[in-house]
Point group: C2
Chain length 408, copies 2
């Protein structure tokens, strides 16, 4: 009899965003007249910019001709895209990343999930708490998380590093040893950023312990302050201890177009093996590259027009973040993030659990949020709002929440 | 110190097609004047058909407007595509597959590799020999293959089922028990097909033993004989023991456009769990769907124009297969496959190893093949030719091989 992967049976309930979707759908089923504004899932709403759609049109035309047709491409991505990434995302910021260190993929979610393939199942994993659920769930699936306690909302083999208002949402390196460390800055869900010094502490910790930092910088495009690092590789020593995940999803509106990349420096070795070679083997064996048309679209993000156009969209979302922050400032609710990040992390009113507040806001303001508890036990007492909605929707949503809070 | 996945270190050499590419590149480096014709990798050469490119253009236009923009889609694929697949690939052949049983993905290679995630690492795995290397390598990476013997060219925990001329390239169910069974028909690399009765024997075996058949039917579009099944689900009893992988790569020239799908029937349960739910959990946690533009292109394959256009391309490749089969028939070399499949499996001349014959053909005829030994020990003594080249290239390649064989 086939044995299934028993770790799957330990996973609690459904994936956070499926549960959010289910509750919204149940609510609108019962209240068909309600016009729900979703500030919940981190999905963009601005269309693809003209530079990208033009490049995609050209690529579709190529694919329709014998001369321009592209079949299997390099699993790691086309040189034209890897070179553009190396130049514009790294060299321009003074960071030396070579194209062979860049693996183009269908998105950071896939890579953050699949990266575990190259590591043993007996590594101790550290995650921030609250945290993007994919880091936790994929490690649970691989057997690295141990057993789940419904009561505590925790896995017994994961090392949770609380990130709460009291420590400025910054995870300090722990006294205990952790081997795989997931860090995400600008942070999902708290909207916090890390300074150069804070990241340096982690790089030193990782190099001292032989750990590997899995650094998710999917939201780096939202950084405005010049002293905040965009990449872990801006930190000295990171090339021997870090892997970085990036995405075009939030930078260029690619959530439905699917492109991201992972950087594995050549110097990063563990157990006598170069992790770049292991990841290369994983990708060449279990992945067949990103659609040519999509890679052409992604490369267009780096043209002068493309860069100007995506910065306009990012500016649009930044203004939404400002509207949320400032709009809720007068309500008495504490608001974090939303400055160098598209996420606003809102403390729920005294005594209200985060799913309870989620339901309350959904019902009273017809606004969907994401309950902080869904991101981990230390997310209890918070909800996440995103700046990715339409400007008018965002303004209205804030207004409705204000009214509901005053009325309630 | 981080522990890597030690199974990766057991993998012999590089991925087969990388080694083929390396040898071709070394040869052309030494002989820059040589014009190599590649009948090696199974990559298509005909452009995307107009129905597909038109649909993709329309989708790109949508993505450039606020109203038509699509962000995150369902991880499992859009209903418009899942419904088209259920109707045209299954219902039309009298097979009842529901859209919820279909998971759209970025290709069969990814799915064949990732499907292992939902199974325990202690299952006994059976593969045909020769076999598509992805089945073997991904199981080796997961620790299911045991140890590799360089001398035997085998993993000690895999159950290899020889498929050679002597048994008509048909793998009979073994006396031993195997839990996960990879079958691929029409077969890569041998070009063999399986009859209804042959597949029924496997379905009965799997149901009797609680095994799961992982059925790869990426090449079903090449079947011409009406009595040859296109899907494992045409066989009674398959819904309780089989998962099927399909791809638009060879059907519609999507090797560089990336779309495929996996069918997991609702009745398929093991260890008290529904495999459909496990795969759904895997995909929602570690995958974020196929680009909207690509799914629109894939759906266009099922329009009347799309179907007519792709059948023209398939006819083109079928004629290539015929040219290869008939052209090599007079050379004294034994030729298999190529009737209901795009692959021709050629027995090497007496006493010649398959890498040796690969090098010989590359040098004397400037034609690239794929050495059978790369697909497993029983592939020794064969090379694979593919029908996916241009018609004129294919004709020339056959002519050159004939001349070389006569001259040598």
């Amino acid at each position: 009899m086939v044995k299934i992967n028993e770790n799957y049976l330990k996973l609690p309930g459904s994936y956070l965003f499926s549960e959010v979707a289910r509750r919204i759908s149940a609510y609108t089923g019962a209240h068909p007249e309600a016009k729900i504004i979703k500030l919940s899932i981190g999905d963009v709403t601005r269309p693809l910019v003209p530079a990208v759609t033009q490049a995609m049109h050209r690529a579709v035309d190529e694919m329709g001709t014998a001369e321009g047709f592209h079949g299997y491409g390099p699993e790691q991505g086309y040189p034209f895209l890897r070179e553009a990434i190396a130049r514009f995302d790294y060299a321009e910021r003074g960071v030396d990343i070579q194209p062979e260190e860049i693996f183009v993929s269908d998105g950071a979610k896939s890579d953050c999930g699949n990266i575990g393939d190259i590591f043993g199942t007996d590594n101790r994993v550290a995650v921030c708490d609250p945290v993007y659920p994919v880091y936790v769930d994929t490690n649970a699936m691989a057997g690295r998380a141990g057993e789940y306690s419904q009561q505590q909302g925790r896995w017994d083999r994961l090392l949770y590093i609380p990130c709460v208002a009291e420590n400025g949402f910054y995870p300090a390196p722990p006294a205990e040893r952790a081997e795989l460390i997931y860090l995400c800055f600008p942070n999902n869900p708290t909207g916090a950023v890390a300074t150069r010094e804070q990241l340096k502490a982690w790089v030193d910790y990782a190099n001292a312990n032989g750990s590997v930092i899995l650094f998710d910088s999917a939201y780096e495009a939202f950084i405005t302050r010049p002293d905040i690092p965009h990449s872990i590789f801006e930190i000295e020593g990171a090339r021997t201890c870090a892997i970085e995940f990036r995405s075009f999803s939030k930078t260029a509106g690619f959530t439905g177009t699917r492109c991201g990349y992972t950087v594995v420096p050549m110097e990063l070795e563990r157990g006598g093996a170069r992790l770049n070679s292991l990841w290369n083997r994983r990708q060449t064996t279990k992945f067949n590259g990103v659609p040519y048309v999509v890679q052409r679209g992604a490369a267009a993000v780096y043209t002068p027009e493309g860069r100007a156009q995506i910065m306009e969209n990012i500016g649009y979302y930044r203004r939404n973040a400002q509207v949320i922050r400032e709009g809720l400032a007068g309500t008495g609710l504490e608001c974090f993030g939303g400055v160098d990040a598209p996420y606003i992390w809102l403390r729920t009113p005294e005594g209200m659990g985060s799913w309870e507040f989620f339901d309350w806001v959904l019902d009273r303001a017809n606004v969907a949020t994401t309950p902080g508890a869904g991101f981990g036990p230390s997310g209890e007492g918070y909800v996440r709002l995103t700046a990715f909605g339409g400007a008018e929707d965002t303004r209205q949503a804030v207004e409705r929440i204000r009214t509901a809070l005053q009325g309630g």
